[in-house]
């Protein structure tokens, strides 16, 4: 009995100590917060008077780049703070349409219906690109060559075995297993899917007719993984799998990815920063820039066709001149000096894509004045 009470006393003491420690921590934190808030407030206030801060929201894919880029931008351009909220392309477009942010960010261009909801012209300013690569899991096969047609047939479910002649033809040296092909795709809606299926639609009529293009489609075959990491996990876990991932994701996780060519006699190109940059520079983009480069299927020498763009969504005519100027400065920085932060995970833009983006920024205006001052 005595020992029992002693234990209880010990336990009670322990509980009391925990409670006290917990309370103590709370008090200290509560005490600390107002001070910090005060400091931050006065600083922000000072900056706000100089040139203001602007807010953007959207795609998660370029968010790490934007954060890095814009924090350096804030140091260099005295007083312009850019807050980018990584909430996903869909929410980015929504917030842009509702005019609750200065600019949106998206991996898939706005649709015609969405554009109609905005009362002024919308500019799609491209910032960086990213290749999407076919990742696979075949033991002992370090180099896999696939023609565009074969990739489309695999994802359509027309080719179901790795030992298929169409695959063997372009891989005479590889030891292809006698296994079923396990197609892996994204189960959630995503910009990566958009880049991938835009390209499949461009290279295969059957795909364009029966499946089509979008951030989420009705997959004819295969299993779905949630997010880039979900697809990567399934590919790595499943012998005989083929999926698609952003290049940086495949490289970081050491997942092999295939070489692509329009036909068996052409040069096979693997997705890389250089081959994607070549594709972006060579791409003949439309005037409004609303196209994923992959939809153009650029097959110039050394160009990797499955390359997407990510955009800033900006109103051509803004209400507030100061905000418009800050946005134009930030966008110009993102497409020029900020490009040095792009590698190794993002592809810098160039060629016609860059020129068009520059024209867009120069065309911005507010209160009857041009916003970009050069």
């Amino acid at each position: 009995m005595r020992r029992m009470t002693l234990w209880r006393a010990l336990l009670a003491g322990l509980v009391m100590a925990l409670v006290l420690a917990g309370c103590g921590g709370d008090v200290a934190e509560e005490g600390g917060t107002p001070d910090e808030a005060d400091d931050g407030g006065s600083e922000n206030g000072g900056d706000g008077e100089a040139a203001g801060s602007i807010t953007g929201a959207g795609a998660t894919f370029p968010a790490p780049l934007y954060n890095e880029m814009f924090s350096t931008f804030a140091e260099e351009e005295q007083g312009i703070q850019v807050n980018y909220q990584s909430v996903g392309s869909g929410s980015g477009i929504e917030q842009y349409i509702n005019n609750t942010v200065e600019f949106g960010g998206t991996d898939a261009p706005m649709t015609d219906e969405e554009l109609e909801e905005v009362d002024v012209e919308t500019l799609h300013v491209a910032t960086v690109g990213g290749p999407v690569v076919p990742t696979y899991n075949l033991e002992g096969v370090d180099e896999l060559n696939l023609t565009h047609e074969v990739v489309a047939d695999i994802f359509l479910g027309n080719i179901t075995e790795w030992s298929d002649e169409a695959i063997a033809e372009t891989n005479p040296d590889a030891d292809l297993p006698d296994e079923q092909i396990q197609v892996v795709h994204r189960s959630d809606g995503s910009g990566t899917t958009f880049i991938w299926v835009e390209w499949l639609s461009a290279v295969s009529e059957e795909w364009a007719d029966s499946v089509g293009s979008g951030t989420d489609v009705s997959w004819p075959t295969g299993s779905g993984g949630d997010g880039n990491e979900g697809v990567a996990a399934q590919v790595q876990q499943t012998p005989g799998a083929i999926g698609y991932n952003e290049l940086s994701y495949a490289e970081e996780n050491d997942i092999p990815h295939a070489f692509l060519a329009p036909d068996a006699d052409s040069e096979f190109v693997q997705g890389s920063l250089e081959s994607a940059e070549t594709a972006i520079e060579a791409a003949e983009v439309p005037e409004d820039l609303r196209v994923s480069v992959s939809a153009l299927n650029v097959t110039d020498d050394g160009a990797y066709p499955v390359t997407g763009l990510t955009w800033l969504l900006i109103r051509q005519e803004m209400d507030d001149l100061a905000a418009c100027r800050a946005t134009a400065e930030a966008a110009w920085y993102a497409t020029h000096d900020g490009q040095e932060f792009a590698p190794p995970n993002y592809v810098p833009i160039g060629g016609q894509t860059l020129e068009t983006s520059e024209e867009f920024i120069q065309s911005m205006e507010a209160e009857g004045e041009a916003c970009y001052e050069g």
């Binding site: 996903g88 392309s89 869909g90 296994e179 079923q180 396990q182 189960s187 959630d188 809606g189 995503s190 499946v211 089509g212 293009s213 979008g214 951030t215 989420d216 489609v217 009705s218 997959w219 295969g222 299993s223 779905g224 993984g225 949630d226 979900g230 996990a233 399934q234 876990q237 499943t238 005989g240 799998a241």
Partner: protein, 322 residues
């Protein structure tokens, strides 16, 4: 009508108590009423929200949504049949595997195991229920799926491969794997409740049977189990409901293929998994509305399961037998 009258009577009763000065009792009663009503209010609010939000899909696709299998975000065509199939198949397979196991565990703990073992193992079983479902999902991918692929699936293909149920190749991500993970997830529910039910069977029931010269098995199968039948069915209904609504683990392991499947080795999707996987980035009104409609269907399914279980208990427990 009767309920209104009784509610009125109670209100008059409450007023009487206030006049008598029992304010504490009155406050307690009012609070208890409010909390009770809040539960009802929450259920009604959920149904209302699902109903309102799914209005677009109900008008657009009509009742044929239930047996349509198209799920094409590009064409904005949606259907539910493949998800209803996925939900029912995984849940029913899981319960039919978990039920004998759960009853076996409970029988061992109550009838055979020493009291000390009963306490310890019982605690462990209940702890299984506290493991977050995402952990079950990851365990499914990294442990169970490779094990099934290397040892179980080849054997199943060799022996039962000729049936459509186990035909095709097994990649790890499949309806089969999801069903097995669900089995393990609902096992604690099935076992723990069954244990409590068996423990509640009066001693006399067992002693009477043993006095007649019955063996332990005869005592359990003829005197204990029939007596506890209602509770055991209730436990299984609860387990079935949990399996049908399980989200995270299934999303990770089932392969998220939005098609009808014919083999357990194929990939599929359940209602809960498709909602979890696609709600945040559903980009059209029809898509979002269809997901809400799927939620409504899941709600109706679990509701039906519970009602059926109740009816079954009523039908079978017209009095203790044996």
């Amino acid at each position: 009508m009767f309920s209104i009258l009784s509610a009125l009577a109670q209100r008059i009763d409450l007023l009487k108590q206030v006049r008598r000065g029992n304010t504490g009792d009155v406050i307690y009663k009012v609070l208890a009423y409010l909390f009770g009503l809040a539960l009802l209010g929450i259920v009604v609010a959920i149904i209302w929200e699902l109903w309102v939000q799914s209005a677009f899909a109900r008008q657009e696709f009509g009742i044929s949504f239930l047996w349509s299998t198209s799920f094409d975000p590009v064409q904005a065509q949606f259907g539910a049949l493949q998800f209803i199939q996925g939900t029912l198949v995984t849940a029913v397979v899981a319960v039919s595997l978990a039920a004998p196991l759960g009853i076996g565990i409970a029988a061992f703990l109550v009838e055979i195991a020493p009291r000390r073992v009963n306490a310890v193992v019982g605690f462990l079983v209940e702890m299984l229920a506290a493991i977050p479902s995402v952990v079950y999902g990851l365990w499914g991918i990294f442990v169970l799926a490779p094990f099934l692929r290397d040892y179980v699936a080849p054997w199943l293909t060799a022996t039962l491969g000729w049936t459509p149920m186990f035909s095709g190749s097994f990649s790890g991500y499949s309806v089969f794997t999801a069903s097995l993970v669900l089995t393990i997830m609902i096992l604690p529910t099935a076992a723990a409740i069954t244990r409590n039910v068996l423990q509640a069977v009066p001693k006399e029931q067992r002693e009477g049977m043993l006095a007649l010269g019955a063996t332990r098995w005869e005592m359990f199968s003829q005197a204990v189990l029939p007596y506890a039948k209602g509770g055991v069915i209730g436990a299984m209904a609860l387990a079935l409901g949990r399996a049908a609504g399980e989200t995270m683990a299934v999303t990770i392991i089932i392969g998220n293929a939005r098609r009808i499947f014919t083999s357990m080795f194929e990939q599929g999707a359940t209602i809960a998994s498709v909602i979890a996987g696609n709600f945040t980035d559903a980009d059209s009104g029809a898509y979002v509305s269809s997901l809400f409609l799927l939620g409504l269907i899941l709600f109706a399914m679990t509701f039906t399961i519970n009602v059926l279980a109740r009816l079954l208990i009523k039908a079978t427990s017209s009095g203790p037998t044996g």
